[in-house]
Amino acid sequence: MSFLFGGGRPQPSSAEKIAQAEMEFEMVMDAFSRLNSSCTRKCLPTDYREGELNKAESVCLDRCAAKFVEVSLKVSEKFQQDAANARGGQAGSGGMFGM
């Protein structure tokens, strides 16, 4: 998440390092929780006629997770690109996943 945090700052203090690690952890949990709610909504019918996941639902969940992660990457790239353009030309590099 170097494009959001750090990026040329001086040596961080203990408290800052911990706060940063904490925030990254939260971001990953939040990303998963959003993936979970979106894919559950998109892939599970709401009549609940059976408690098991059937084949179609399982496949839908797998693909939904893959697409969510792919979208996360694309969005992150776009934001870095936009930020680089705003700074005056050179593109950001390195993907960022989970946020």
Binding site: K17, I18, Q20, T40, Y48, E50, L61, A66
Partner: protein, 91 residues
Amino acid sequence: MNMNFNDTEQRELNSRLERKQMREMLTTYQNLLQGCFDECINDFSTKSIQSREEGCLMRCLDKRQKASERLTARFQELNQQMADKGGAPGQ
């Protein structure tokens, strides 16, 4: 994130992350409960749960929990693949 933590920092960090994870678990639990309540309980002509509603509720909990476990596994795999490709951490 390539940070080095000394022992004191690591302990402090762990205890904070544990608390966050606990809180997250509880939120997940409440989301599950509210989601299944919203979808299965729609008859307010009585004040007790009907057997039809209870059936729906139990299947809803089972299915959503299985979905959540499946998605957790996928998320971790995908996260790992990213890390292997030298992409960003995400864990």
